[in-house]
């Protein structure tokens, strides 16, 4: 086609440099250099991010790992009938009220006949956790036949002794700077020499709820609380969010009102979570009078937080279903609702589930709104339902990291490891779902 432009000469005399080619050569160098520079920046950014992440994970694991083991004393305990049940009635009330603390202390004192002074004895007894007495009581209550016999018990040591055994704190003769005395250190060494000290896997960490004594505290209560809270969140948010997404995407007229709703949903996703906590406090607790510290209310508040996330993800999933599928269904005479539920929703479901899992992972790590509705209380019982007072994993971590005891800091890190484990599992699940059900059209 001739449009008045001179055609380019496609052959130049030998030796002459094509001006275009020269310009390209000159700029190529610059362009390649720019690309190399950009790649380097990118690589540096990735390396920096990876190193920071590695450092973070390393610190957490380093601090938290020791919490998975604990120090115990293997102590021969004489359960004398006089101490527990002088009348010999085996009445559960008597058995339950007996002074087991004294029995355990006597067993320890037996090993150290040289310890006589009042304050020395107090130091000696404080080496053992009060958990030993509870355990002994449970054993006696379960089987009163052990009364009168001599049994061996594994009794946890007090948290400071445990920390000393792990080498985290040192004994000092000044006795002010550290939490264990020289005497205690020496007694501990003697116990160790006699082979009575054992380092075992810390099962209590996974079976107990919170406690004032770090060596007796565990994450099971928080895990169960998290479970109930997440269950309430899922039951409330998934159907609501998916229903809202389907209505807005497939059925709602596109007018100013639906636009307004859409903008507001997007804005809700950006509202700080503590605001939702305040809302929960004002509406759910103060207005409707729902129980404080309950997973039910926590779940309701977290459902509000995850709703926008799931709605946005579900709408994106619905939008990604190609219009040709809708046309195909409508073309054979499917009604709009049949088109949506027979064809569009099944195809969008993996995307919706991925959004839901990501929303749930977000909710699992949420702390601030739960503080507002009282899930930050010190709760020693394992919740048995969504109405029992409970706390959740991130709040438990917050509580422990706020405690001065070295052993609690350790346990906070251990709880973080468990929480991160759950989050990773959920995210992997989301990725697997997406990969597994990904469709190509």
């Amino acid at each position: 086609m001739s449009n008045g432009v001179e055609p380019m000469p496609n052959r130049l005399p030998a030796g002459a440099q094509n001006p275009v080619s020269a310009a390209v050569t000159a700029s190529l160098k610059r362009r390649y250099a720019a690309e190399r520079r950009f790649r380097l920046y990118g690589l540096l950014a990735v390396v920096f991010a990876a190193l920071s992440l590695a450092a973070l994970v390393f610190t957490i694991v380093q601090t938290g790992l020791p919490a998975f083991s604990t120090t115990m004393v293997r102590l021969p305990v004489t359960i004398s009938s006089e101490a527990i049940d002088p009348a010999g009635t085996r009445d559960p009330q008597t058995l339950s009220g007996a002074d087991y603390q004294k029995v355990v202390r006597d067993a320890l004192a037996e090993l150290f006949p040289d310890v006589t002074g009042r304050s020395q004895r107090r130091d000696l007894f404080s080496m053992l956790s009060p958990g030993g007495a509870y355990e002994l009581r449970n054993r006696v209550m379960a089987d009163p036949a052990v009364i009168g016999s001599r049994i061996e018990m594994l009794i946890p040591v007090a948290d400071d002794i445990d920390q000393y055994a792990k080498g985290h704190i040192e004994a000092s003769s000044k006795g002010i700077e550290t939490r264990i005395t020289d005497d205690q250190a020496q007694w501990f060494a003697r116990l160790k020499d006699r082979g009575m000290i054992e380092s075992v896997f810390n099962t209590r960490l996974f079976t107990a709820a919170d406690s004032r004594s770090p060596e007796l505290a565990g994450i099971w209560g928080a895990l169960v609380g998290s479970f109930w809270t997440m269950a309430v969140t899922l039951v409330l948010s998934f159907p609501l969010a998916v229903g809202a997404a389907i209505y807005l995407e497939e059925f709602a007229p596109k007018n100013r009102w639906t636009q307004l709703i859409e903008v507001n949903i997007n804005n809700l996703a950006a509202v700080p979570s503590i605001v939702f906590g305040l809302l929960g406090l004002a509406v759910f607790l103060n207005f409707f009078g729902l129980p404080r510290s309950a997973p039910l209310v926590g779940g309701m508040v977290l459902a509000l937080i995850t709703l926008p996330t799931i709605i946005i993800a579900s709408r994106a999933a619905l939008k990604a279903v190609p219009p040709s599928i809708r046309e195909a269904a409508l073309g054979v005479g499917a009604s709009p609702i049949q088109t949506v539920f027979h064809h569009v929703v099944p195809l969008a479901l993996p995307g919706m589930l991925t959004g839901t899992i990501i929303g749930m992972a977000q909710a699992l790590g949420e702390t601030a709104p739960l503080l507002m509705i009282g899930m930050v209380a010190f709760i020693v019982d394992i919740p048995s339902g969504p109405l029992d007072p409970a706390t959740v994993m991130p709040v438990q971590i917050y509580l422990w990291s706020d405690s001065p005891e070295r052993a609690f800091v350790e346990r906070a890190s251990a709880a973080i490891i468990v929480l991160l484990g759950f989050l990773i599992v959920m995210n992997v699940l989301a990725v697997v779902l997406r990969k597994r059900f990904e469709r190509k059209w």
């Binding site: 596109k254 409508l330 073309g331 054979v332 005479g333 059209w441």
Partner: protein, 273 residues
Amino acid sequence: MTMIQTQPQEPTLRESRNTSEDAVTFVTRDVTVHYGAKKALDNVSLDINKNDVTALIGPSGCGKSTYLRCLNRMNDIIPGCRVSGRILLDGEDVYAKSMDVVHLRARVGMVFQKPNPFPKSIYENVAYGPRIHGIARDRAHLDGIVFTSLEKAGLLGEVKDRLHEPGTSLSGGQQQRLCIARAIAVQPEVILMDEPCSALDPIATAKIEELMDELRINYSIVIVTHSMQQAARVSQRTSFFHLGVIVETGETEQIFTNPIDRRTQDYITGRFG
């Protein structure tokens, strides 16, 4: 999009059937369509004869697909689309309040430009229509409908051993025939085809064209096509659309050999479009 053929052939023209005046499926009068402020169709009047293949030809953007989508009200799902004028299917106003759009689409099937089987099994693709309309009495009857439809669409031989494999695993041409089988499974009166061969290779195209000739014994077919050879090969009547109006309608043979309008002449000889 024009079809690429290795050997351009002389269009073979078929004798059109003698259609009496009463054998008309669609009567459309003064159909005007707006997309928002834009006028896509301007006072289009056309009759679709029973048991004919009617081809709608014309350059891109001339309104032929828009017209086709008026016939089964697929334009309803496009926001901002307004249709005026009268479209009668066997004397019933398609756009009347009393017309149920779901029922209409069961009577007027559609095959789209890009093969769009459901991401389900071949069997489920064909069985879906009869199932939602409650046509099949029982499982055996449904099987029968599926087999007959696949047979009519010329696909049964190729897929009868793998009815439960996904429809999307078929080749493009097979997928399009599956879509035709899906459309005829609900026993429509009319089948609308919107450039059904534009995504297919010449061999698959030839199969679909052959199929259209067989299908018109039982159905009326309206096909939008960009390929003049295809229009000439498969249709009995041809309508030439240009800029939202019908320039010329007539027997296919007359349109291609002796067009009345200058613009038709220019288009079929490849001078524009």
